[in-house]
């Protein structure tokens, strides 16, 4: 989905996050352009999820600032909600809504013109067509993750933030995910993707940010191809 503006979609200027004496993210300057896929890689505890939470507006930087489409990030604000899709943190589902109804809830809430068609397409992508009337609690972990990702497809978006989207997915679903990420960036959607899988980063990302103990280093697509660091 086109953003419609010329500048960067997401901008971090000296963004820092500290918890007491612990530096979770050292000052970071970063820009994410429309149609770009940025991978965030690094070992456990390196600050990936902290960075994603700052980008999604779920946390406020202790120093510096984060802006989305030129405005201050406010996760609670409709402007961010209308254009930013986030799949991060532990999965959560309504116990009394079916697989299909979860997608209808999101599609309807975003006012999609043809909810049924959008939901059918997303269910087909997630290979959940056989499970439309089931409740998420009885789906497998991989199916639940597919459902979360499918929810991104039934809403408008100019930035998608994904925290380890490949989790629980089988190889076929990972391959579909990689295809989806490429298709999204081709449509002008920006993607920020935290992952432990260097293959996922190589396949989908234009560049990468390597985090280690809160400090970041940049990798180009060519660097990524030869990168063999410990993730």
């Amino acid at each position: 989905m086109e953003d419609g503006s010329d500048g960067p979609l997401l901008t971090l200027v000296g963004a820092t996050r500290e918890y007491g004496d612990v530096v979770a993210l050292a000052p970071l300057d970063l820009q994410v352009q429309p149609g770009e896929c940025l991978a965030v890689v690094g070992p456990n505890g390196s600050g990936k999820s902290t960075l994603l939470r700052l980008m999604a507006g779920r946390e406020i930087p202790t120093a510096g600032q984060v802006t989305f489409a030129g405005g201050r990030i406010d996760e609670n604000g409709p402007a961010v909600r209308e254009r930013m899709a986030v799949v991060a943190g532990p999965s959560a589902f309504y116990p009394d809504l079916t697989t299909r109804e979860h997608l209808e809830f999101v599609a309807l809430g975003h006012g999609l013109p043809d909810v049924e068609e959008a939901v059918d397409d997303a269910l087909a992508w997630a290979r959940l067509t056989e499970h439309v009337d089931k409740f998420p609690a009885v789906l497998s972990a991989g199916q639940q993750q597919s459902l979360r990702l499918a929810a991104v497809l039934v809403r408008p978006r100019s930035l998608v933030i994904l925290d380890e989207p490949e989790q629980h997915l089988d190889p076929a679903a990972r391959s579909r995910l990689a295809d989806l990420l490429r298709a999204e960036t081709d449509r002008g959607v920006a993607i920020v993707l935290a992952t432990h899988q260097i293959e996922v980063a190589r396949t989908a990302a234009d560049r990468a940010l390597v985090l280690r103990d809160g400090f970041a280093g940049a990798l180009s697509r060519d660097d990524l191809a030869s990168f063999d660091g410990d993730l």
Binding site: L51, Y94, P95, E101
Partner: protein
């Protein structure tokens, strides 16, 4: 590939485990400590309660005038309570069951090639024994009440009643085990377990009505008595007052109950070995979660743990049609929630009818037509309960804001929208309740229906305010020292207290205004103004609270612990 046959002595393994873990010694210590605690509690609180019951019920007036009528009504009442108790056993079997293993036993003991029946049976027997003792104590208490009502009651009835209650406990545990061991029975119980509860409640109502009207047809007693174990257990009570014996009928009933209990216990002991591992695993996890939540005083989390263990299997057959506009998405979601959990409507109706019944009874009994303030307080609390039963979807959003956060609306706006459907439903159910009240007591008048409708939105706003409190913050429990219990209580009761503070004066004022010569028109106008004002204030508070649930944290995580990605 050949599989080696194993010849493992289950008894030896269990004995080794007990020895190594020092389990027997610890268990014995726990039992001794438990008995000591029980004795202290019974000595301190039991006897005074027992004595109070004897003195309260032993008044001459009760024995001479109403005693026989009350005693007679005890048959359906006790049968109903036994039915409810059996229903509760079955319901609890779906998440806990009489046999619960610890997580370590599930992970280490169950995978061994042992005779599972011998591993699990001692747990079944322990649960059955404890329940039998508890049943016997309840039976003794019942016998004490009977003795107070009918001093001529002989010792034989005390024995029979105690035995019957004890047998009901064992029967309940046995049936629960069969449910735990059989996925098919578990599915059936999921569908039908509300039936014994409803029938039990119906029998209690029959008892209350017959106590107030002075009698009922004899065939009802016969039907109740011989309809099943609940009737057999209750039958001896109908012989209260006889000094000689309990009668052949009661002995036959007790014999039937004994036989059925023995059969059920034998079936349960046999089924112990076939409890599916998955069933034990889920129950161990749930019991652990519920135990932790109860220890923390977090009732909501305990309820969520039980709900998670009853993940809705199967498929949804009915759906609410999608609305045409995104503005109605929250209402659609709320209606879908009611469709999937129709029990919410049942609880709402129960609370709402109770609330209206109390107001009506209080108004009818008072000389000036205004119920006593205490009854109004109880009625408002029941009304709050009715509203709270309808805001489950809002409560789910308060628990896990990340789902609704996917909508392009402010979280606070979503919270406020959650008030619409419950307010309408509560108003409709309230109207039905009031109409029933007017049908039974025409003096109530139809103008009160307007007050009922106007009270629905403020009650829902108060319930939503409580619903959005989210999960109990750990800081609240661990960092507040001696004041913890009060802060914890405040955490839970802020909603009902808000409803009381707002609606009690409104209702009192409504009753006072209705007596004025000006008529009901100005009264309804006053109530409407108050309802609109309090609803608006309540929803603003809901919005503020919901907004704070999703506000990004500025400082470090819980108790200053570092949180890193």
């Amino acid at each position: 590939m050949t599989v080696a046959t194993v010849d493992v002595s289950t008894t030896d393994v269990l004995a080794w485990l007990r020895r190594t873990r020092g389990q027997r010694r610890r268990k014995l210590g726990k039992v001794v400590y438990g008995v000591y605690l029980a004795a202290i509690i019974i000595a301190l609180y039991g006897y005074p309660v027992f004595d109070w019951v004897r003195r309260t019920l032993g008044g001459t007036e009760l024995r001479a005038d109403t005693g026989p009528v009350v005693v007679r009504s005890l048959l359906p009442a006790l049968a109903g309570l036994v039915l409810v108790a059996l229903g509760v056993f079955v319901r609890n079997a779906r998440w806990r069951g009489p046999v619960v293993l610890g997580a370590a036993d599930v992970g280490w003991l169950l995978p061994l090639p042992l005779d599972r029946g011998r591993v699990l049976r001692p747990r079944l027997f322990t649960t059955a024994a404890i329940t039998a003792i508890a049943g016997a104590l309840v039976g003794l208490l019942g016998a004490a009440v009977l003795h107070a009502l009918r001093p001529a009651t002989g010792i034989a009835l005390v024995v029979v009643l105690t035995a019957a209650c004890s047998l009901v406990g064992v029967l309940g545990v046995s049936v629960a085990l069969l449910v735990e061991a059989s996925p098919r029975l578990e599915r059936l119980s999921q569908r039908w377990s509300a039936v014994p509860l409803l029938l039990g409640a119906l029998l209690v109502v029959v008892a209350a009505v017959s106590a107030s009207t002075g009698g009922r047809p004899a065939w009802i007693d016969d039907a109740v008595t011989w309809s099943g174990p609940w009737g057999w257990a209750a039958y001896p009570i109908s012989t209260a007052g006889r000094a000689d014996a309990v009668g052949t009928g009661a002995l036959v009933a007790l014999g039937a109950l004994t036989l059925l209990t023995l059969l059920a216990a034998a079936a349960a002991a046999r089924a112990c070995g076939s409890i599916p591992t998955q069933s034990l695993r889920v129950r161990a996890r749930t019991a652990q979660g519920v135990g932790a939540a109860v220890f923390m005083g977090d009732a909501r989390q305990a309820r969520l743990s039980i709900r998670a263990s009853r993940a809705q299997a199967g498929r949804a057959r009915r759906r609410v049609r999608l609305p045409g506009s995104p503005q109605f998405v929250v209402m659609w979601r709320d209606l879908t929630g009611v469709l999937r959990g129709p029990g919410q409507l049942g609880w709402t109706a129960t609370f709402a009818f109770g609330s209206i019944g109390i107001i009506a009874a209080g108004a009818a009994a008072s000389t000036d037509g205004t119920p006593p303030i205490l009854l109004i307080v109880v009625a408002v609390l029941l009304g709050y309960g009715a509203a709270a039963s309808l805001v489950e979807t809002g409560r789910l959003d308060g628990d896990t804001p990340q789902i609704a956060s996917q909508l392009p609306m402010k979280f606070s706006g979503i919270a406020v929208r959650h008030a619409v459907v419950p307010s309408i439903l509560l108003a409709v159910i309230g109207c039905v309740g009031w109409a029933l009240g007017v049908a039974l007591e025409p003096g109530l008048g139809w103008s009160g229906m307007a007050v009922v409708v106007l009270c629905a939105p403020p009650l829902v706003a108060a319930a939503l305010f409580n619903a959005y409190k989210g999960r109990l913050p750990l800081e609240l429990v661990v960092s507040i020292g001696d004041a913890g219990v009060f802060i914890l209580a405040g955490w839970y009761i802020v909603g009902p207290v808000a409803a009381l503070a707002v609606l009690t004066p409104v209702i009192v004022q409504a009753f006072n205004a209705a007596k004025d010569a000006a008529g009901v028109g100005p009264m309804i106008a006053d109530v409407a103004v108050a309802a609109v004002a309090t609803t608006a204030a309540g929803l603003m508070a809901v919005a503020a609270r919901a907004g704070s649930r999703v506000a990004p944290p500025r400082e470090g995580g819980l108790l200053g612990l570092a949180k890193k990605g």
